[in-house]
Symmetry: C2
Subunit: 412 residues, 2 copies
């Protein structure tokens, strides 16, 4: 049961002109579930992506990277669940390539214009024949108004499909954004991975989009953690079709700030949905660290808190266990941190309580205040390091019995 999240209804997800989606049941791993999704992009659509830093990156990730670096004009995406094509070596790369060859032939484009994405069981060969056999049905299903189905077709152990849309007026034109994501742990090597696809009908020049995708990921998909593990297949792709009649080539272009903010907001929503659906999650936690010398040191502290099993079990227990939070701040890795300058608040909505300062419990802090906030389903841990002006946020969930149950019992 996700924390405060349900997927928007189909009619709340906006079609993006120039981006058609089709889904099918290819039976790649299980029967009777949508497990294949194809994106077909009009010519002129720009594409940029960021991918897992895991050295065991999957075959499709390797192909995506090559094609984007080579500057290919991407015209289609093929996404399968049920098999991650990871840990499969050179044969895996050939199978990923052949899935692109098959889709390219059906669309009359070059194989290098197709990007492949896979998620599911690893260390197993991709069932290429079933995937290819499913492509005609996915192509027959192509339409711009298909984000809801696509969000479902990329699910693995997700308990809920994840999608978001937004519309804004920029330079007198309507600009639309739609996106989908999947993932429930940061990694499940059997049913791997975080995937995110974000499309807009604004036009964005490739160099600008390549810079944007890193900045957006840094504020969204790179700020979430369920269990600290990084998958072999993590991918986040942004698509800009240009069909809305507004085009951006530079950060100084009029309207760019609004479009960038809206794209970032949708990406944050999609990333947070993954945490809200985190394995066993019962609470959604924002760790907001400010007052650092650099963003990087703020991230260190935020991740130390967000990764600590002791902090996360305390949230599950609604226990305002300050010691665990302070200890995580202390071991995060800032060698010259003056703990006497650190302040910590617990907050839920407008209810905010200073819990620690000057190296220990805040004098005015009452345990009842902490206990009240810890009962909430959405909690913010705010930390002021008291040594600068940088900040960073991390989104995470609590750590419950069900996390262990899901990950100990799970074997697909």
């Amino acid at each position: 049961m996700p924390v405060n999240y349900t997927v928007p209804a189909p009619d709340q997800l906006l079609p993006i002109a120039g981006v058609r989606l089709g889904v099918a049941e290819a039976g790649i791993r299980k029967k009777d579930r949508r497990d294949l999704c194809v994106f077909v992009l009009e010519p002129g659509t720009t594409v940029a992506g960021v991918f897992t830093q895991n050295r065991f990156c999957a075959a499709p990730v390797q192909l995506c990277r090559q094609r984007l670096v080579a500057g290919e004009e991407i015209r289609a995406l093929v996404i399968n669940t049920g098999n991650a094509n990871a840990g499969t070596g050179e044969p895996g790369r050939r199978l990923a390539e052949e899935s692109c060859v098959a889709l390219a032939a059906m669309l009359g484009i070059a194989p290098a214009q197709v990007l492949p994405f896979s998620t599911g069981v690893i260390l197993e060969p991709l069932p290429l024949e079933r995937l290819v056999a499913g492509l005609p049905a996915a192509l027959a299903d192509l339409k711009t108004d298909n984000w809801h189905a696509a969000a479902h077709a990329i699910m693995t152990t997700d308990t809920v499909a994840k999608a978001a849309s937004r519309e804004l007026t920029v330079n007198g034109k309507s600009v639309r954004i739609s996106g989908i994501s999947k993932g429930a742990g940061m990694i499940k090597p059997n049913m791997a991975t975080m995937l995110g696809f974000l499309a807009t009908d604004a036009g964005i020049a490739r160099p600008l989009l390549e810079k944007l995708v890193k900045e957006v990921a840094d504020l969204s998909f790179n700020c979430i953690t369920v269990d600290g593990d990084t998958s072999t297949n993590d991918s986040f792709l942004m698509l800009a079709s240009g069909q809305a009649g507004v085009h951006f080539a530079s950060e100084s272009d009029a309207g760019w700030a609004e479009v960038k903010a809206a794209l970032t907001a949708v990406a944050v929503e999609l990333a947070q949905a993954i945490v809200r659906d985190g394995e066993g999650a019962t609470k959604f936690i924002t760790v907001a660290v400010e007052g650092g010398k650099t963003r990087e040191e703020c991230r260190l502290v935020a991740y130390a808190i967000g990764h600590s099993p002791l902090v996360k079990t305390a949230f599950f227990a609604s226990d305002p266990n300050l010691g665990r939070i302070l200890a995580a701040v202390g071991y995060a890795g800032i060698a010259d941190l003056d703990v006497d300058g650190v302040k910590v608040w617990l907050a839920s909505g407008a209810d905010s309580v200073l819990v620690a300062e000057q190296g220990g419990r805040a004098p005015a802090y009452q345990e009842a205040d902490g206990a009240r906030i810890m009962q909430a389903a959405e909690i913010t841990v705010r930390v002021d390091l008291g040594r600068g002006v940088a900040s960073a946020q991390v989104y995470t969930c609590d750590f419950s019995y069900d996390y262990v149950k899901i990950n100990a019992d799970y074997r697909s």
Copy 2:
């Protein structure tokens, strides 16, 4: 229930001439439990220690560091459980100092010759009066043959006391080593911490002991992880009384290698006992990484595997989930790792199986072999990075329902 560990019987723990121990029930936090332990050292005993890197280090840790850096001749240790005196700021430092003043007055030594250690609830003032009131009983109990009682007196949430001894003949003399440790999670800020005390009747010059304590810690207490958290109070102290009639001033001295090896072995045993008693542990896991360019990169990989909640829940489930191990190797942080050169084995005793090579599952690997090994209570994950000759080991335990239960329900 610890994994394959029971504390040795009292007569298996060897007295160390020059090191007397006394315990008492001071009622610092709970009634009817030994919670106070005093070490009294003969003049000439050398002392060296390593302490937590946590910036929120506790008041007694700060005092210990100061006194050891200042080169004080340490003559006594005072150790309490039930209160960690951490997150207590300047008042906490004064209370720690006053506990030393009280013990020093009773012993006729200077306060700076006493090292204080505390473990227990944090963010609460140290109940100094009760501690001081318990000192006469602890001093009345002083004897060299008291390691078993001392091991019990430093326990907090440990389910078993931890102690070890060894005797060897060096340069024609009998040399004895005894030690105790405590800890069950790497940190429990309410009932904090790992403590280790290791004494020998060999004489070891202070500079040599200071170098040794770092090396020994690096191979023992710094190689264990239960949940990746680092406590505010972690301390490891080595004492050398010199009463055995053998003295070492240099690493080239005859017999030093044997003494060093024996001290290291006892420290490893004490450190491993903490993991065996890890919260909720049902299995003891050794992660042995070899073939690295540096020891540091081997440690990175070993800790990535040893910290991964996904790997640890798979061990709990006896699931030979290779993907989770490979993924942890991949995200450990070696940027130029060639995954095709990585090999992974699972082993239990002499039963060893190559499970992964060349970026994926080993061709000859049968899941039944992995499943058989995963049933064992003691399992080794061996990783060859295939790029050098360095190695490192990390000891950890699995991650069970009970870990969450202990840490979610626990509030002292």
